[in-house]
Amino acid sequence: MCKIGCVVISKRGHDKGRPFVIVGTDGDFLYLADGDLRKLAKPKKKKLMHVQNTESISTEIAEMLETGSPRDEDLRKVLLRFGKNGEV
């Protein structure tokens, strides 16, 4: 279920509670960015088990990741609706 473009909430680490977009996957690891704490240029590698899936996907970001490169600003815009701590 954790596909590129999906929004997840961090469950572990100092970023616990923050929403991120999956920008890459590598086996049991995900590459996460939010355009703020973790920029697209340096996404956070995090274990799959250390995130909570919101079951939501931004196809806009997924398309951008496939066809061109989204900007950190785009990620911030999408994540606005997911709240800082996964709370709206």
């Binding site: 999906c6 929004v7 919101t54």
Partner: protein, 254 residues
């Protein structure tokens, strides 16, 4: 698949498709009377949808069936719950007719259903229509960011059953957007757990299908028409909504 969240621009595209659907319903309401065939209603709807630069979403739609849906809209009379195929059946005074319309424009679908009365209908049918509508409006009280999907399901069931009616289990509401049926599925009855959290930008087609008698339904040999097992009446009310931080934005009501 996951639930697709839309941005404001995408929601505006969806609003346009849904407005076409809403206008089609308004137009059909003027034509619904005893003696008109369901096929005639289908033709009126198709002409209007196409005149607005949209395509009827249901025409040729296969879903899980092996044959494409032959009509542009679903017209279900009395005991027919959903997916009624437009044909030569004439509406009679006292009938209730559920019309489900989908329109596709600018890459996005609009989806809404209404149950109309033909002439004067019995008190129980009147009440059935009213309760079905109430189920939707009760459900959208829970359709806001931060709530959970299954609260919507429970609200529909509670409203219908407290009025002495039952809700259809075999067919459910759904997410809608670029695809006619997207994640999540939205059953009209209680579910275990809370379900996924709702976020701003999710677009959902919430569609209570309420039966006068049993909740059980059967599919006819035409592979599409769904009727109640006991052949008592059923009503349908559906709107596409966008989840916001506050009250749900009903896209298919102008």
């Amino acid at each position: 698949m996951a639930i697709i969240v839309k941005n404001n621009e995408q929601i505006e595209f969806m609003r346009e498709s849904n407005h076409i659907v809403a206008n089609t319903h308004e137009l059909l309401a003027k034509y619904i009377r005893a003696g008109i065939t369901t096929k005639e209603l289908d033709a009126i709807a198709e002409d209007y949808i196409r005149s607005r630069g949209a395509v009827p979403s249901f025409k040729g739609y296969k879903g899980s069936s092996t044959t494409g849906f032959p009509g542009s809209v679903c017209v279900s009379v009395n005991e027919e719950v959903i997916h009624g195929i437009p044909g030569l059946k004439k509406l009679k005074d006292g009938d209730i007719v559920s019309i489900d319309i989908g329109a596709f424009k600018n890459g996005y679908h609009g989806d809404a259903a209404r149950t109309f009365k033909v002439g004067v209908v019995s008190a129980v049918r009147n009440r059935l229509i009213e309760v079905t509508q109430n189920c939707f409006f009760k459900a959208i009280e829970y359709a806001k960011a931060g709530r959970h999907l299954h609260e919507i399901c429970a609200a529909v069931q509670d409203t219908a059953e407290s009025a002495g009616f039952s809700v259809v289990r075999d067919f459910v509401g759904h997410g809608v957007g670029r695809e006619m049926h997207e994640e999540p599925q939205i059953p009209n009855y209680k579910q275990a757990g809370r379900g996924p959290r709702l976020y701003k930008g999710m677009t959902l087609a919430i569609e209570p299908m309420v039966n006068e008698g049993t909740h059980e339904v059967v599919i006819l040999k035409d592979h599409w028409t769904v009727v109640t097992r006991d052949r008592r009446c059923s009503a349908h009310y559906e709107n596409t909504i966008a989840v916001t931080d506050g009250a749900a934005d009903i896209l298919s009501i102008r």
